[in-house]
Symmetry: C2
Subunit: 222 residues, 2 copies
Amino acid sequence: MSETIKIYRDLAGANDHWAGETRSLLSRHGLTLLNLIGAPGSGKTALLERTAARLQPRVRLGVLEGDIETTRDAERLAALRVPVSQLLTGGACHLEARLVHAALRDLPLENLDLVVVENVGNLVCPAEFDIGEAAKVAVLSVTEGEDKPLKYPLLFREAGAVVITKTDLLPYIPATLEACQAAVRQINSGAPIFPVSVVRGDGLDDWILWLEGHARRSTRHT
Amino acid sequence: MSETIKIYRDLAGANDHWAGETRSLLSRHGLTLLNLIGAPGSGKTALLERTAARLQPRVRLGVLEGDIETTRDAERLAALRVPVSQLLTGGACHLEARLVHAALRDLPLENLDLVVVENVGNLVCPAEFDIGEAAKVAVLSVTEGEDKPLKYPLLFREAGAVVITKTDLLPYIPATLEACQAAVRQINSGAPIFPVSVVRGDGLDDWILWLEGHARRSTRHT
């Protein structure tokens, strides 16, 4: 077996450095940052579209869209007049704090209360990287099946909130909402769980209230 | 920014070494190995359950189940009397060739024609690692939305076949089968696409024929 020796920087250390810089920046602006993480197609962007429409103008939302390729998600949010940037990882499976920090600085922070970062669609790697967020929010669609929190426990353990999406499809699939909630509870006893249907608008009130509470907590003290 | 210098082995080189060892082993036994990759909850295990029931006894199937935690998927296949092992990555987001090789050696290779490795649920990282497979098979559920091949192009570019699952849910969601197929074709002009509904049994015949063809191609020449 051939082996080569490479030198590389301590990426975890550098990541924590930039996460810290981001927390300072957020604190100066009285801003809350949330890190939205879920599988590809779990409905993260659709949730953000609906959330933006409900929050504004009381809570001024900014969005950073993380993807490997394409600017589709940022375009969807920009159409709603939300300040948004697209972060392209160029193949990498998660967002790193340095990229988030650079993109955050280019948002109109003075005019925002809350920034949501939609991470790359992936239940594994994004959970391992702090990007300076106040909380990670896990997104699980009922169509993925109720065992996902048990099979991908790190994200669900670390999550400050869990949004269970696509509840309108429950009549057509084997998974039940109760089983999804119970699986989340096996991994995380405290985080609020928000079952929602974005297409129907079901369950969004509690989610919006939770977001408003988070945004209010960091409001600028000037 | 603090920086430390670390030394690490060329993991890609080591991975290719073990992928090569696996190909030699497979060749000696006239065996075909397929690498099944898709998002969490895309229906990989359900597809394998139904596939096992359809292939046997003509094609003797073995399965390696890759997960971060739990042995749920292996238990589901073992219940169908399929030789199966569970590979737990302990947090890692993909299977590496060395682990697959070790597990493969413990399967009853003399009694098998085809081994399917179900990779960790993840559209990104598993596509980057050769595990000695004859082909990668991408699994995309219609509930994930039709833009996923464009947003996660590496897997769909490398795939030797694409299975589009959960077609029974098409009446209840915005995505159409035509849009899903067109997105795959933008990235991959040649791979066969198999739309299936595992719960209804729709579309499985072509997928089974394709698998049988692959298994036959490698049949032992003794």
